[in-house]
């Protein structure tokens, strides 16, 4: 290989959208190709793990890791790539915060397996076969990685240098971050401090959202299909759960502009520990129920009635951030691991 900086990208528990997002930076991908040598990128090039193992430590300049870590293979690869890479970037929401895979932290590994291998309507598994970690065949032993009970974000497994939020990250942000890295590698320009969240606006999505905002009092929440939002008006005020105010911008507020409440994929603002908790607290603050002097139980009942209109609060407010939140996971059958 040439002496160009080396780029790697690897996936663990994820959907693959992050890989596509890298390729989706349009013509800039040519620049990437020009600047970097690809050292490992299973989605687009045929590399094997033993190639990586053969590299000297720190050989890879930048490794973009996407996906949460939920089994022993992911953990092994995370350690290996950490060792071989100068900069480890948690790329996209799964690596950064756990994202959709980490919603299974609300339940147990067994329950997840039951759903995936037995209960899903499309499953036909009369012999109740479950994947096993080791099976003997004539050719020898076949193994599968150990599946964990808890999904972790990348930084719960290895040391991470930068975080790039988004599900997936938006092309302009990806390109901006790559430019910074390239500038540093080729021209010795300064890098942001280690541990920084990069590729975002630093202010909540609402800042980028053109909808008109007023003081808020919400008396009922709607699921997107239940309401046709009034154009030009903040969705949250109309009772559509929008995580915009609890989510760092940079995405360009794409979702609220087409009438879909912000899902929250960019994660919390820097300095906020728990995006779901923050949004819940905000929602609780603007619920319109009761009036001064009303009996406490009655107020409680009215608040509950409004809150009950939020379907799946955990999935709504912690959709992306479960693993990285203060909660990390739910206790299931008295166990928290």
């Amino acid at each position: 290989m040439s002496d160009k900086p080396k780029l790697a990208m690897y996936w663990s528990a994820s959907c693959g959208g992050c890989e596509i997002s890298v390729l989706n930076i349009h013509e800039h991908i040519l620049t990437v190709d020009e600047v970097f040598d690809v050292a490992f990128f299973p989605c687009i090039a045929d590399f094997k793990v033993h190639h990586v193992e053969s590299y000297p430590d720190g050989y890879i300049d930048v490794c973009l890791w996407n996906g949460a870590v939920r089994n022993s293979e992911g953990e092994h690869m995370a350690h290996l790539l950490r060792q071989k890479s100068k900069f480890m970037v948690a790329y996209g929401s799964c690596a950064y915060e756990g994202c959709i895979p980490a919603l299974s932290n609300l339940t147990s590994k067994e329950a997840t397996f039951n759903t995936v291998y037995f209960d899903n309507p499309s499953i036909d598994n009369p012999n109740k076969v479950l994947p096993t970690e080791s099976v003997q065949v004539t050719e020898g032993e076949l193994t599968l990685p150990t599946f964990w009970n808890t999904v972790k974000s990348l930084d719960q497994v290895i040391d991470v240098d930068y975080y790039l939020p988004g599900c997936p990250p938006e092309p302009p942000q990806i390109w901006a971050v790559l430019q910074v890295i390239v500038g540093a590698l080729l021209e010795g320009k300064p890098l942001p401090p280690k541990g920084s969240l990069v590729g975002h606006s630093g202010v909540a999505v609402c800042e980028e959202c053109p909808l008109e905002k007023s003081e808020k009092t919400i008396t009922k929440f709607f699921r997107p299909y239940e309401i046709v939002p009034e154009p030009g008006v903040c969705l949250l005020e109309q009772g559509i759960v929008c995580n915009g105010p609890a989510t760092v911008g940079g995405c360009g507020a794409l979702c609220p502009q087409v009438g879909m409440g912000c899902r929250g994929c960019y994660g919390p603002l820097p300095g906020v520990e728990d995006q779901g908790g923050k949004m819940l607290s905000a929602i609780a603050s603007v619920i319109g129920a009761g009036e001064a002097g009303m009996d406490e139980h009655e107020i409680e009942r009215q608040i509950e009635a409004v809150v009950d209109t939020i379907v799946d609060p955990a999935g709504t407010f912690y959709r992306f951030s479960m693993a990285h939140s203060l909660l990390e996971r739910a206790k299931v059958n008295g166990k928290g691991e």
């Binding site: 202010v203 609402c206 949250l236 995580n243 919390p268 300095g271």
Partner: protein
């Protein structure tokens, strides 16, 4: 952060802490924690010597942070902040761990208590390194004071302040000031005539140049903070023009409509529809009871207007409620009490057995200007009773109603016994009591006087009052069924009249009032004082004071003491002119606010403004009280509560969980 030098001081509090917590162990252990420069234990940290320890270490060892593990911050946070300040350390670089109220006082388990003391101390150490120096905020005190409630407590407070040259707004809900005391006949134990001692004070209030008296009025809204409150007061329409009315009372005489007076006469008498609650009412102007006024009901009558001799006529049927905005620096609440509804104890028969009376009804009856001209008679209005039973503790000291003792009922029940003896010398009087509670100057002596007057005292809780006779002697009588615990026998006492002495209760609206004034009330509805012993007239809200029976059952002398005490507290603040307020305030990062406006209608003090031009929200520091509501509400986490930053709070949590959760809470 790691350069901070923390001094940790673990207090024994005599034996209050040291008898359960191994303070030496806690101090030694604390000395080994990161950032801790010195850790000591001492018998009384709050003593001068204890404080000097801190001052000395700050100076000699260059401490940059101080932790005292002792009692509640309510007790001594100020003390220790003072010690830091004297040694040149910003007082906010101090943190207190409460190992007394939260630890040694709640368990005998020495091992667990010592472990918890370590957790609490560790939390304070972890927190204090994140503290930032803060400067107090000066606030000017508006010298005007609002007093709510014109009973004896409110009257006393108003006169104290006004006599000292300060302006007072006295807001009273009823048409006249006076409160319950105006309804009483004689007052125990000296038996002075209630009206004779009260009316001169009422008149003083009415005439005082420094008092704006607003009767028939109520506070509807309160904004602001210590030194700068704005109260919105509704002055209800009286339909009488106070500017011209001379209070001659001809209108009252001529008004053809009479109704039952449920308030002042507690249903014992009637009043006209245009009325003054009682002859000595202050102010003297009558008020029209719109609900019952013939003119308002049927559009015809106007007798009052016809006979009113003033020019121009004082009656004004077009008068509207007035809304006043009062600017005041301090507020004293003296809203008094109510009586327990005796119908809640059906076996006592009130309402069903006509000769069962309440204490207030009896007060009105014995009052010379009351509905029976002071004669003690049965409901028929003419027959004097030959025997009277007075039932103490009705709804007080009773698991089913109020657990507390109402404190004054024993005394006024004795007063009633005396009055019956005085007016009907031959009558038999029975006082049924659980315990006789007469602490107070001259009170026990009054009880002894009654013992000599021949009152029959029965020690026992009354089970039932019935008109169903079992023997001929009970025929036509009310029978009081009571266990006489002194002789260990059930007794049935036949009498002509029964007087129930109901519990003193918080006003039914006390909860709303406490919310309106943003201070607390307890489970029973009485307003909560800042400290039950050391600060009985202040509340947890700066600038709001309480006096009289709204704080708990009280007799007149105690209500007067509290009224004067609250006035003295307010006068002290007025004298100072400016006070320094805690700089614990919220702040919105103007660069990071997205203008989502979630916080905009959150602030209970209306301290948040939204700038339409810049699309950001901002906290007005002078209005902010540091309550933290908006800090919790801002989903972007960009409102910071000074002294309660994320770093500080999370480190405190980490510190407290040191033994159960070794990993950091923060990633």
């Amino acid at each position: 952060m790691n350069e901070e030098k923390v001094g940790v001081y673990v207090c024994h509090c005599g034996t209050n802490i040291a008898k359960v917590v191994d303070v030496v162990d806690v101090a030694t252990w604390a000395g080994e924690q990161p950032n801790v420069e010195v850790a000591r234990e001492y018998k009384f940290m709050c003593s001068s010597l204890g404080q000097e320890l801190i001052e000395q270490d700050i100076k000699e060892k260059g401490l940059t942070r101080v932790v005292v593990a002792s009692c509640s911050p309510h007790m001594h946070e100020k003390t220790f902040r003072g010690a830091c300040e004297r040694a040149g350390l910003n007082p906010f670089l101090f943190e207190m761990a409460n190992i007394r109220e939260h630890d040694s006082w709640i368990t005998d388990d020495k091992v667990a208590a010592t472990q918890k003391a370590k957790s609490l101390t560790n939390a304070a150490i972890a927190r204090v390194v994140h503290h930032q120096p803060l400067e107090p905020i000066p606030v000017e005190i508006n010298p005007n004071t609002l007093i709510v409630g014109g009973g004896i407590a409110g009257i006393t407070a108003a006169l104290e302040l006004a006599d000292a040259g300060n302006h007072v707004y006295l807001v009273e809900r009823e048409p006249s000031i006076g409160g319950h005391m105006a309804q009483l006949d004689k007052t125990f134990p000296t038996l002075d005539c209630s009206a004779c001692i009260l009316t001169p004070k009422m008149v003083d209030v009415g005439q005082h140049a420094n008092i704006t008296l607003l009767t028939w009025s109520e506070v509807e809204e309160l904004d602001g903070y210590l030194g700068n409150f704005t109260a919105t007061v509704r002055k209800k329409a009286r339909y009488v023009n106070e500017e011209v009315c001379t209070g001659c009372g001809i209108c009252i005489e001529k008004c053809p409509a009479k109704v039952l007076d449920e308030v002042f006469e507690v249903g014992m008498g009637t009043r006209k529809v245009i009325y003054r609650p009682f002859p000595q009412a202050v102010p003297k102007y009558p008020v029209i009871d719109k609900e019952n006024c013939i003119y308002f009901l049927r559009g015809k009558c106007k007798a009052c207007e016809l006979f009113c001799p003033t020019e121009p006529n004082s009656i004004d049927f077009t008068q509207k409620d007035e809304i006043l905005k009062l600017q005041v620096g301090n507020i004293i609440l003296a809203t008094g009490y109510d009586l327990f509804d005796v119908k809640r104890i059906p076996q006592y028969g009130y309402g069903r057995l006509k000769n069962v009376f309440t204490s207030l009804e009896f007060e009105r009856m014995v009052n010379a200007s009351g509905p029976t001209d002071g004669k003690i008679v049965l409901r028929d209005g003419k027959t004097p009773p030959a025997s009277v039973a007075i039932v103490h503790c009705v709804g007080s000291r009773d698991e089913n109603y109020h657990k507390y003792c109402s404190k004054i009922c024993c005394m006024y029940s004795l007063k009633f016994a005396h009055l019956v003896h005085e007016r009907i010398p031959d009558a038999e009087v029975y006082n049924c009591y659980i315990d006789m509670r007469t602490p107070g100057k001259g009170y026990e002596e009054f009880y002894h006087r009654l013992l000599e007057e021949g009152t029959n005292f029965i020690r026992g809780k009354v089970a039932e009052i019935t008109d169903a006779p079992r023997i001929p002697a009970e025929e036509g009588k009310l029978v009081v069924q009571v266990e006489d615990t002194l002789i260990g026998r059930q007794r049935r006492v036949p009498v002509d009249m029964v007087i129930l002495s109901p519990a003193m209760e918080a006003k039914p609206d006390s909860k709303e009032v406490s919310q309106l004034f943003k201070m607390g009330c307890d489970f029973d509805g009485f307003f909560t004082e800042r400290h039950p012993k050391l600060d009985p007239v202040a509340t947890m809200t700066e600038g709001i004071y309480i006096a009289g029976a709204c704080q708990g059952p009280k007799d007149v002398p105690e209500s007067v003491v509290q009224g004067a005490a609250a006035a003295a507290r307010v006068a002290g603040l007025i004298n100072r002119g400016t006070v320094m307020m805690e700089p614990v305030r919220a702040n919105i990062d103007q660069d990071k606010c997205s203008g989502c406006r979630i916080c905009n209608n959150m602030c209970p003090y209306n301290a948040i403004v939204f700038h339409e031009d810049r699309h950001v929200s901002e906290v007005i520091t002078a209005l902010c009280q540091g309550c933290g509501t908006c800090v919790a509400a801002c989903p972007s986490g960009i409102i910071t509560g000074a002294h309660f930053t994320n770093d500080q709070v999370f480190s405190e949590i980490e510190g407290i969980l040191w033994d159960v959760r070794p990993e950091k809470v923060l990633a």
